[in-house]
Subunit: 452 residues, 2 copies
Amino acid sequence: MPATADTIHSLDHLDQLNQALESGAFIQVRRMLNSLPAPDVAHVIESSPPKTRAVIWRLIDIEREGEILPYLNDEIESQFLRNMDSEELLTITEGLEADDVADILQQLPDRVIREVLQLMDKQDRQRVEHVLSYPEDTAGGMMNTDAITVRAKTPLEVVLRYLRRHEELPEMTDNLIVVNRRDEYIGQLPLRKVLVSDPNITVREIMVTDVDAIPASMDDGEVATLFERNDWVSAPVIDEQGKLIGRITIDDVVDVIREDADHSLMSLAGLDEDEDTFAPVLQTAPRRAMWLGINLLTAFLASSVINMFEGTIDKVVALAILMPIVASMGGIAGTQTLTVVIRGMALGQVGSNNSGWLINKEFLVGIINGLCWSMIVAVAVTLWFDDTLIGMIIAGAMVINLVTAGLAGAVIPIALRRLNIDPALAGGVVLTTVTDVVGFMSFLGLATFFYM
Amino acid sequence: MPATADTIHSLDHLDQLNQALESGAFIQVRRMLNSLPAPDVAHVIESSPPKTRAVIWRLIDIEREGEILPYLNDEIESQFLRNMDSEELLTITEGLEADDVADILQQLPDRVIREVLQLMDKQDRQRVEHVLSYPEDTAGGMMNTDAITVRAKTPLEVVLRYLRRHEELPEMTDNLIVVNRRDEYIGQLPLRKVLVSDPNITVREIMVTDVDAIPASMDDGEVATLFERNDWVSAPVIDEQGKLIGRITIDDVVDVIREDADHSLMSLAGLDEDEDTFAPVLQTAPRRAMWLGINLLTAFLASSVINMFEGTIDKVVALAILMPIVASMGGIAGTQTLTVVIRGMALGQVGSNNSGWLINKEFLVGIINGLCWSMIVAVAVTLWFDDTLIGMIIAGAMVINLVTAGLAGAVIPIALRRLNIDPALAGGVVLTTVTDVVGFMSFLGLATFFYM
């Protein structure tokens, strides 16, 4: 999709649009919307509260809806789709690439998918069915079916003539794909080599054969890693028999990179990376409630630990005042380690060969920072309560908790991953449970030992 | 850089390499390293503890070092660079693209930069100096100087002949760039149009003029947004006079997207997105210490709030047992809101036009979840302590704190951004200070009112 000259300033459009919307100038809004590139319209929709969203969607020409949908967050996309019948769905999917059609259909109930597929012409249906047959988060689910193929023995001159028969090459075509007569992948023919070569030589002489094609079953995160490492713009996808079935382009890979990077951030707060910033209150509240419930259980667990030392607190009330310091410093130190390890895992850096080193490192960092800060806290608390013993006790507890936090921050995500539990989602809860329990237990335990 | 057939399995290389390293088979390790593509070698280095890193670096051929450096994390890159003299630096930067050379030089002291530039030939020096004259995090700092330019009046046939004079076109060349005789940017000539067009027409007839070039001063995050929205593979960069000075390619944009996405995650834990997972203990400990110190201050602040209610706790020790529940639930609810808002800001969704709606929404979500969970907590606490009053008090405090958390989670990042303070870095600390202080104050305050 070509960007208009306005694109550079697209970030200002939102304000202008909102002013027009507020003043009820719907004709102006419609004109603005239909002159904006599809990704910018999607961004305007994503940045609007639900009511404005509905108004904007009604003002968009139906022919443009299909173009805009693939750029929307899954949650918003499926809301719009739910209100369409199969005829409308057919209209909006016309002219879209097979992977975008598949993405749209995947949001719908099976019955509707079958209806829409029935209405398509045979070639389109087969293409879309092919993409639909692979899970959304695999290479097969990401691919397009628009690859241009050539044969190795063809002279470049013939290739060039063949290309001229096209109206335009598919977007992001940097390579033609070389296949044999059984459609099996052999290699790639970079256009930037075609353009500098003598037209009389054959494809075989300049094709690149040392780049493997991507198996359709490969996980989308792995696909993204390959693109990032090798600076690819597009890559061929093959099925189990080695037959070429499509190609993946960098624009879809960028979406995966963005989502994977968001996943760690959002999961640590118990949120989904598809979370819609402007979802209605009644949709957001129940989703958040679940996470609060889980954390409530761990908070009660921490309270029950404190409860064990009721007698000690009753005698030395300063303990109640100081105990949150020990717990919270453990939480902070542990979260730092957890975040580094989770990011390292997301980047594919942490494996069985180095996790031992990493755990050991975080243990040592915990000891150093535990000793350093506990001394400062010891002095501060001793001065505050004019009591050396309580200063010593809190220092001891802080060393114990910061060392535990370093260890737990590294061990928990590594262990969770071995158990096939998402470390970003479960890691934070398990970690703060550990640092709270150990924090309260070490501080109040030491106090009970010395005071009672 | 072409990927070898091994690339697909590159994630296994690390284990093999480590086995070879451990068994001291250095000749084998050297062979393995030099057969791996540069990004994979960089990944192996990033995934290794410091000692292994040094061994690996020594085993890499010097001619390959320059190729590998741009793929390394800035921190590790500058460590390796610090040990080189200007002759070595010149050797490794030979054959690199101007933006990669600039990236390398930017890590070095001014004196060394001048020395290396002196040693370069004139053309290379000018190119690199040009890139160096723009800040690293702008379009000018990201660009390459390898754009191929054509004039609008040229027939395609001549363009094709001109291209054939090149050995190979620069990587990621999807467009030639059309300039006038003053080198001012006019438009782009997509190769995928050149290939399907009649060679007798001129560039003017098929060039694309509705895409603006990127100003060299544009922030790299904005550049990334434009690439993502418009599915670009490369884009031209112009100076203030509208003269073409280079082009940006998607591979460098992907790095920016990855770093920006990591920024929110890492900053929330007080970490830098360049943080090296396997940095030595003595390097990591002082960095983490700073953040612990800031959080220690806020923990003392929370303790001083509790201290105000010493008398009440002394009388009703159950308060000490239950107070962490109120504070921690507020912290969790607030962090959820904060994370959603920070992510929305990073995606450019949150602006002055919708932040009011967002704050209002999070306030309502806080009320709903506050009421919902406080009732459950009220029942649980009443049963636990066989005391209805304490159940009512904790419920009231939880409603107050969850509503505050929702409001604070939305208002704090919005306010921090207005003050030009990074919301991802400062947001978490300010938020937990608020939820701790309000949590303890509301719970102990209500208790003091009803018990004393």
